[in-house]
């Protein structure tokens, strides 16, 4: 609260008419967004404008065109703002003064087609100021929950919302909460863990959420703690996300000072504290039991389930593990009610999903869409189509555990069931668009290389199987394979899938299955014709000729 007082002292008491929101998420930060903010502030001063402001915000989503500045009052977006160019800065300041010099966002399909719940405050609030989050409705859900609702009422609200885990598997969040709430702990201790170990290559949703609305994740965790009866939470976050870690640390400190975390939250009997645990670069730690091992300071190797973490997890106590996006959805669900949330999306997949759109698509960036939207809408409408107008070939979802969806299925609905039916998975939200320059056998090899490297080595099917699968794929891409190798590939992939200990091994063959299903002709071309249709793979025979 003191911050607000200080700010109003330095600013004249004129109501702010327009504000320039400067994106300071990692993408724009690396393109000198901080200098952009400073340049705009300086120019505002020079021109003596006293009824406009400039502030730092989280991700403005159109990452392809950073650094980004948005004027929410007049719905204008400025792309690739150059802090060293006076003209570029003046265009923004002119708009602050009333001109229309930016890209109008209201009609732009990239923005207009999105429905924002998780990202509602991303690009709106200052991620480093808790007061700004509170001013935008933040912590209302938590205070309402702890002061007016019983834990089971909160829990039932989440059950009725139909929210499913956004980490990939889509397990109903409410049911998970219920199991933890019902589980008995020998010393009454239970834990909430936020899984922020976003390991899928090509996925950056959780990073953006943590960098943009860290308080929202903390609020979701505290609500979860209240509902399941936990008083301690951990955020397990990747070391590769230093800005997210920094903002989380700051957010926790600010929330504790505001009595929204720590002991006796909002002067009630409920206490909840949150600690951060930083990963050290192991993909397998995204798996629940491996993550728990890592929080306990051990090698991140998974263990067989049951017992499920909900019954016996961290320090052998009932532990709720939810993904960043799942937890960030909670405050809005409590504020607006389960019925409101359930009405968004499809009957079986309620709500919205955040995707990181990347690859060979024009509008790379962060998008939030209602479940049930078609892939075509995402790629062509929101994504703006393929770079250079090239031919769409496939979209890869679910990272190394997912699959590739071909052009013929572009009209399918994006929800948990449809994606699974198409041989892929929802996954955490990475969506990589590929054009004709990608060889699908090479893509399968790329993911198998990833899995063999990240396999923890505990169980044999995964440790040895992924290496063998990689070897076979490598042989095919070098043009040295025979058709019978394809049979071996398929039976081995089946074996790894059905006998591996954890999700990493069980899903590692998925990219092979889906590329074989839709792009078998490419495999055959590599084997029979010794050619790579996409011109990616260097054939041994081609090299020697």
């Amino acid at each position: 609260m003191t911050d607000v007082a200080e700010r109003s002292e330095t600013k004249p008491p004129v109501p702010i008419r327009a504000c320039a929101n400067v994106c300071e998420a990692a993408g724009c930060m690396s393109l000198d967004a901080e200098k952009v903010l400073e340049a705009i502030r300086q120019r505002i001063d020079e021109r003596g404008l006293d009824d406009v402001a400039v502030k730092r915000v989280g991700c403005l989503r159109l990452c392809a065109a950073g650094p980004l500045v948005e004027l929410p009052e007049s719905g204008q977006l400025f792309e690739s703002v150059d802090p060293s160019s006076p003209e570029s800065i003046d265009r923004v300041v002119d708009a602050l003064a009333g001109a229309q010099t930016g890209r109008a966002t209201a009609e732009d399909p990239f923005f207009a087609r999105q429905v924002r719940i998780v990202l509602a405050n991303s690009g709106v609030v200052d991620p480093e100021e808790i007061d700004d989050y509170i001013a935008h409705g933040g912590y209302k859900a938590l205070t309402q929950a702890v002061t007016t609702m019983r834990p089971y009422e909160v829990l039932e609200e989440v059950v009725h919302s139909g929210l499913r885990g956004r980490g990939g598997a889509g397990y109903p969040t409410g049911l998970k909460w219920r199991t933890v709430a019902k589980s008995i702990s020998p010393d009454e201790k239970k834990y909430v863990i936020c899984n922020a170990d976003e390991g899928d290559p090509g996925a950056f949703m959780d990073r953006s959420v943590l960098e943009s609305v860290p308080q929202q994740v903390l609020e979701g965790m505290a609500i979860a703690g209240y509902a399941v009866g936990a008083s301690h939470g951990y955020i397990y976050v990747r070391a590769e996300y230093p800005l997210a870690v920094k903002r989380l640390r700051l957010a926790i400190r600010q929330a504790e000072r505001a009595n929204l975390l720590g002991t006796n939250i909002a002067d009630t009997a409920f206490s909840f504290e949150i600690d951060i645990r930083i990963g050290a670069g192991a993909f397998v730690c995204g798996e629940e039991t491996a993550l728990i091992a890592s929080v306990e300071g051990r090698r991140g190797t998974p263990r067989p389930r049951p017992p499920f973490p909900a019954q016996s997890g961290l320090w052998e106590r009932p532990t709720l593990i939810n993904n960043v996006e799942t937890l960030a959805s909670i405050p809005a669900i409590l504020r607006n009610g389960a019925t409101w949330y359930r009405a968004i999306g499809t009957p079986k997949s309620a709500g919205t999903k955040v995707f990181a759109l990347a690859g060979r698509v024009v509008n790379t960036g962060l998008i939030e869409v209602p479940m049930g939207v078609s892939l075509r809408d995402i790629v062509y409408d929101i994504g703006g189509g393929i770079i250079g107008g090239a031919e769409f070939k496939a979209v890869q979802t679910g990272g190394p555990s997912g699959g590739c969806i071909p052009a013929a299925d572009l009209d399918m609905s994006v929800d948990y069931e449809s994606l699974a039916q198409a041989g892929s998975i929802m996954g955490s939200g990475g969506m990589i668009v590929m054009d004709e320059t990608s060889c699908m056998v090479d893509v399968a090899k790329y993911f198998m290389d990833f899995c063999r490297d990240e396999s923890c080595g505990k169980c044999i099917p995964c440790r040895v199987g992924t290496v063998q699968l990689y070897g076979l794929l490598d042989k095919i891409t070098r043009g040295e394979a025979e058709l019978e190798d394809l049979t071996t590939l398929e039976s081995l992939a089946d074996m790894v899938k059905s006998t591996s200990l954890c999700g990493l091994g069980q899903s590692a063959p998925n990219p092979i299955f889906s590329t074989l299903r839709y792009f078998r002709d490419e495999y055959v071309a590599h084997i029979q014709d010794r050619t790579c249709p996409a011109g990616v793979c260097e054939m041994t025979s081609a090299v020697s000729s």
Partner: protein, 164 residues
């Protein structure tokens, strides 16, 4: 301990104090192992065998487990790193946008592969599984600062810049 310790005793003292403080703050608890190893690496740039032993003693963790953890996680370095660090992201978006060509150019110029350090000890090359900078693919991190949409010519500029 090592030559580094004797040569820069004063700064190293400070580093040790920082590490000890971190160990104390977590009450010498064995589950602080990963956090303490992060602190050690931050201070010294890599994890020396002597330091691993020290940390194990302080936390009551057997050397086998300390070594097991240090080698399990790919971010922990057991060898000293070069003056500069170049990380090439090989996440899916960067792979689709030809990150392999960037690694190829670095190999052509410095004769190093990911995980290696140039013969003159100037540049260490690493690859990252995904930096989450997919919208700027292919991405390269040069001494901690992320650069997006790097081309093979851009690699030349980066490596030239690291020479001086």
């Amino acid at each position: 301990m090592s030559t580094a310790v004797t040569a820069e005793a004063t700064t190293d003292d400070k580093k040790w104090k920082m590490i000890d403080a971190r160990i104390r703050r977590r009450g010498n608890s064995p589950d602080a192992l990963i956090e303490v190893l992060h602190a050690v690496q931050e201070a010294f740039g890599y994890l020396e065998p002597d330091v691993l032993e020290y940390v194990g003693d302080a936390l009551g963790v057997p050397p086998s487990r300390v070594y097991g953890v240090a080698t399990f996680y790919s971010l922990f370095m057991l060898k000293p790193q070069g003056e500069h660090t170049v990380i090439v992201c090989t996440g899916t978006a960067c792979y689709i946008n030809h990150a392999a060509a960037l690694l190829g150019r670095i190999h052509d110029r410095l004769d190093i592969k990911p995980g290696e350090t140039s013969a003159d000890g100037n540049v260490s090359l690493l690859n990252a599984r995904c930096l989450g900078a997919c919208s700027m693919a292919p991405a390269v991190v040069v001494d901690g600062s992320v650069q997006g949409r790097v081309t093979t010519d851009g690699i030349d500029v980066i490596l030239e810049g690291l020479k001086s």
